[in-house]
């Protein structure tokens, strides 16, 4: 199997605090890898390192064998790595459909045509594709609504749709189930399964353990910035180190 993403001995320090320490892991094509750990374990920092928001203090991150640590977030997104945010970050000025249209430009090879003001055949084709993306997350009926007026669960789905519209091969989802009710979480699970069936590689940060255990093929466990366990869900669940990290060690 081909390795999509690899971290090699990554350190990230904020002043004296080590958010991530000597972290190494691989994600293979087509995998759905869970990244879990108690609050403050460094999960979101890992996402920020992979997407170029932060630069590692030491070590390197590779995408298909090419070093991407040190690249800016724009360049990394254009390589095919898309993400969502833990605290939803939609654009208040744009409608639901416009969120998809604006993200599609990520794949454009010629950028000068973006200044063209008239509706071309290409633009109609992009609208058709955008509606298909919205259909996939069940939002095509609300295409003309202001995105920030959507209910919470729909906003989470729109963020995933926006990430998908960039045409990525690797998706980083930061707590997509946070704040969702049971029905919405079930919808999300079906969406994750569908994405996996379509061949997307996914790295998932999530606190909903039931969901993580159900959908992930492999799980990485972080605690205080270090990788303490990695393996299939059943193995990770019974790992004494993981149980200690979540429940605390008896003294």
């Amino acid at each position: 199997m081909s390795v999509i993403l690899e971290a090699r001995g990554v350190d990230k320090r904020f002043g004296g605090v080590a958010a991530v320490e000597r972290l190494s892991f691989c994600v293979d094509a087509g995998e759905l890898v869970g990244l879990i750990g108690p609050n403050g374990a460094g999960k979101t920092t890992v996402f920020n390192l992979v997407t170029g928001v932060h630069r590692p203090t030491a070590g390197e991150i590779l995408h298909r064998g090419t070093r991407i640590s040190g690249c800016d977030p724009t360049a990394i997104a254009r390589r095919g790595i898309a993400r969502t945010f833990q605290n939803i970050r939609l654009f208040p000025s744009l409608t639901v459909l416009e969120h998809i249209l604006v993200a599609q430009a990520c794949r454009a090879t010629v950028r000068a045509t973006q200044f063209w003001p008239f509706r071309t055949a290409g633009e109609r084709e992009r609208r058709r594709q955008a509606l298909a993306v919205l259909d996939g997350v069940g939002l095509s009926a609300r295409r003309d609504e202001a995105a920030t007026h959507l209910p919470y669960g729909a906003q989470r789905r729109l963020e995933i749709a926006r990430a998908l519209a960039t045409g990525p091969e690797l998706l980083l989802l930061d707590e997509p189930a946070a704040g969702l009710n049971d029905t919405e979480t079930a919808d999300l699970r079906r969406l994750l399964d569908a994405l996996r069936a379509q061949g997307y590689t996914i790295l998932l940060v999530e606190h909903d353990m039931k969901l993580v255990m159900q959908v992930c093929s492999r799980i990485l466990v972080l605690n205080f910035g270090r990788l303490i366990a990695s393996g299939p869900p059943a193995q990770v669940r019974s790992d004494p180190g993981v149980i200690d990290a979540y429940l605390g060690v008896a003294h």
Binding site: T74, F91, S93, L94, L101, V102, Q114, A165
Partner: protein, 281 residues
């Protein structure tokens, strides 16, 4: 036309250009208080070329605008690294540097100022306003315009979908500088006399004020703001000495009652739909 009305309309046109120049930068979430600096560069470069070197007005105007745009690019590269209030301070400092430069620069008259320019007509100002309104209209409906909204709303999310945020801001700054340069060149050849004091901090602040009061969601807000707030002080002339106090009070009241500015994007969309009969509600 009556000389008084012509003068008011000419300054309205120049104010619209200045408001558009401030809007270009605000549209990518960067507030500049130094646009009078770009205006001064356009004014002095074009005036030097027409008065001292005998150039035709149009090439001189183009040269002034280009000089302002190039300065915008040179200043923008370091200043765009600054965020929020630091960017505001950086541009404010730039504007003052340019003003004091021309105050002391003898070849363009120094503190005595420059005279001998002419050739700007009201029609010419109106033509430039029309051209830039059309350009902004085209930009706003283009895909790049949509990306600019994304940059303004949330630059981190914009980067995450592959938008070149720094490139968008640099383009905004350079085009804002270019428009301010044209406004300066037109102003110099209309006013017939310029001095460095014409390009002080208040001019930059006014340009931003037009945009904030008119509404920041669409460039039409900038245009409307410049029109109304050029006319308002004139309409208040009957108050004599109290004119500017009343003007200030009206501005405060407007910001309290309508913080989003006079014109909003939702209003324009509703207007457009009502006209095309798709959605009258």
């Amino acid at each position: 036309m009556n000389v008084y009305y012509e003068g008011v309309l000419a300054s309205m046109g120049i104010n619209i250009l200045l408001a558009l120049s401030a809007y270009a930068m605000l549209a990518t979430d960067r507030l500049s208080l130094g646009n009078a600096g770009f205006m001064a560069i356009g004014a002095y470069v074009s005036s030097f070329l027409t008065v001292e070197l005998g150039w035709n007005l149009y090439p001189a105007l183009a040269a002034g605008a280009c000089a302002a745009a190039v300065t915008g690019a040179l200043v923008g590269l370091p200043v765009l690294r600054l965020q929020g209030i630091y960017f505001v301070m950086g541009t404010l400092a730039f504007g003052e540097v340019v003003r004091t430069f021309f105050q002391n620069f003898e070849p363009t008259g120094g503190a005595y100022g420059m005279r001998g320019m002419s050739g700007t007509s009201l029609e010419m100002i109106a033509a430039f306003v029309a051209v830039f309104v059309l350009l902004f209209l085209a930009f706003e409906v283009s895909r790049a315009g949509r990306a600019a909204y994304a940059v303004r709303d949330d630059d981190q999310a914009a980067r995450s979908i592959g938008i070149n945020v720094t490139g968008a801001r640099l383009l905004a700054l350079v085009s804002g500088a270019l428009i301010a340069g044209i406004a300066g060149a037109l102003f110099a050849h209309y006013a017939l006399y310029i001095e460095s004091g014409n390009f002080n901090f208040l001019v930059s602040a006014n340009a931003v004020l037009f945009v904030i009061l008119g509404g920041m969601q669409t460039f039409w807000g900038a245009v409307l703001g410049a029109v109304i707030f050029t006319l308002l002080p004139e309409a208040l002339r009957f108050l004599a000495d109290w004119r500017l106090s009343a003007y200030g009070a009206l501005l405060v009241a407007l910001m309290v009652l309508r913080p989003e500015g006079l014109l909003t994007r939702t209003f324009l969309i509703r207007l457009w739909r009502a006209r095309s009969g798709r959605d009258a509600a």
